[in-house]
Amino acid sequence: MTPHTLTPAVARRDSTSESRVALVRPKKPLRWITTAAVAAAVVGLHAVAIEGTDFKPGLLVDGWKGMAAFIGDAFPPDLSWEKTLRPGLEATLVTLWIGLLGTTLSVPSALLLAALAANNTSPHRLVYQAARAILSFFRAVPDIVFALIFVTAVGLGPFAGVLALICHNTGVMGKLWAESMEEIDAGPQEALRTAGANRIQQVANATLPMVVPQFVGLLLYRFDVNVRSSLVLGLVGAGGIGLLINQSIKSFQFDSMLTHILIVLVLIIVVDQFSAWIRRRLAA
């Protein structure tokens, strides 16, 4: 390719080739070495990870019969109303309620911690660090561990699941909210500070109203995640459809298990569509 076929980024006053600016990209001699090093590191990490997880596709090929038998047992799904469908639908509602309460009841604590853990709204550096630490703790402990802890206090059942989700969701939503507050334009808050508003007034009248759309979007996302988490919580005795799935596996009723999983599939799609619809309305 000759230089004449390239279009320089700078428009020239006349188009004779003699007056053109020569297009010469500055050479960066170390660039390919960096690229090669990054590629080698990524490949190396994957090799170690494959070793560490016993990742052997051959096993899957050899063992396909076991899987086929298991799935074969599950078909056709058990659609008997009294034995499987009705309990499944009732338990699904419980799962939905666990996810709903786990999300909404964590709003006050998440909001408070988010305001303390965002550097543009936190009153003091120490408070900021403390709030970040609390959020990290609630996020680091998995909801299933919280559920096991609460089961020892309030017994098996959905209530333990709600408590577990409140704790874990406080940590995750608090962090997501704190970050979205840090990302918004600081101008309106500064304007209110120069007008003599105190810190709480600045947050209530500038920062929070600015982040409402992001907050609601994240809340819906967490509702979606929490409904799915509450399924898993059912497996450790926190009630809901997860408990029924666990029971049907343990009693080898794989056709009932499949029915429950199909109900869950419908639930997940409905929740997903609902939150997408709300988010679309918010964006408009």
């Binding site: 334009d185 101008g187 309106p188 500064e190 304007a191 209110l192 120069t194 007008a195 003599g196 508003a197 105190n198 709480i200 007034q201 209530a204 009248n205 500038a206 109203p209 600015m210 409402v212 759309p213």
Partner: protein, 261 residues
């Protein structure tokens, strides 16, 4: 004098931005600050407002030097000044009325300012009056994000009024606006100065606006004042000095505009 400033100096990381700036703004007067980028005009305003701390210098409001005040008294003295920003800095999702009420926050108990539903009725009425003074009472319950840029800046002016400020500092108030909206906002600032007795200081990037609307213009070059004259006495030569580094591109421009003004 509502606002007088003496010997204002400021440097950032060893680079001197203000080399002793002295000026005052009288009640009922609109003063424009002119200068090239980096001449120190915005820094001057930010020092006066207390957003940036000057290295030295004295800022007095109604004869009281701010550096003699502390804590609550200093805060109260500062609240007699209101700032208008280039980027407007309103909350787009809230109504014009709620945004204007925010100017009064320093007079509202914290618990009553947590939601617009709790705001005292007299504050809301006052905010509506302020919106009426900028000609936007009919848009009071529209979200600010739905207003045009010029209307938004007028809402910001109403917020400054609702703060009951005697001094209004405007940092490039019209730079983000189209020419027609810029004229409207400048006319509003001049009217507030002339008919309501406010002391208004505005940093401007357009000399022609300064010459047509400001009673007095102050030129800043590399952190020093080159002139402080009634706008009618400013000539093309004055402006040429300010924008000299850009002369090869803009000197014909500037003198043309001056003649037009």
């Amino acid at each position: 004098m509502p606002l007088s400033v003496h010997g204002l100096r400021k440097s950032f990381n060893g680079r001197t931005v203000l080399k002793g700036v002295d000026f005052s703004v009288a009640a009922g007067e609109l003063v424009a600050f002119l200068g090239a980028n980096g001449s120190g005009k915005s820094t001057t305003l930010r020092c006066v407002m207390g957003i940036t701390n000057p290295d030295s210098g004295s800022i007095s409001i109604d004869g009281t030097a701010l550096e003699t005040l502390q804590g609550r008294e200093l805060q109260q003295a500062r609240q007699r000044m209101a700032m208008i920003f280039q980027k407007i800095h309103l909350v787009p999702r809230r109504t014009a009325l709620d945004n204007v009420c925010a100017g009064a926050l320093s007079r509202i108990p914290t618990v009553r300012s947590l939601s617009s539903l709790l705001l005292p009725a007299d504050v809301q009425q006052e905010a509506l009056d302020c919106l009426d003074r900028v000609g936007l009472a009919d848009r009071a319950f529209d979200r600010v994000g739905r207003l045009s840029g010029g209307q938004q800046q007028r809402v910001a002016v109403a917020r400054a009024l609702c703060q009951r400020a005697d001094v209004v500092l405007a940092d490039e108030p019209v730079s983000a606006l189209d020419p027609h909206a810029a004229e409207q906002v400048m006319a509003l600032l001049r009217e507030l100065a002339h008919s309501e007795g406010l002391a208004v200081a505005a940093v401007l990037h357009q000399p022609d606006l300064a010459l047509r609307y400001a009673d007095r213009s102050i030129g800043l070059l590399h952190g020093s004042m080159t002139f402080d004259l009634p706008s009618t006495e400013i000539t093309a030569d004055h402006l040429d000095t300010l924008y000299a580094p850009d002369r090869d591109v803009s000197d014909r421009d500037v003198s043309d505009r001056t003649q037009a003004a």
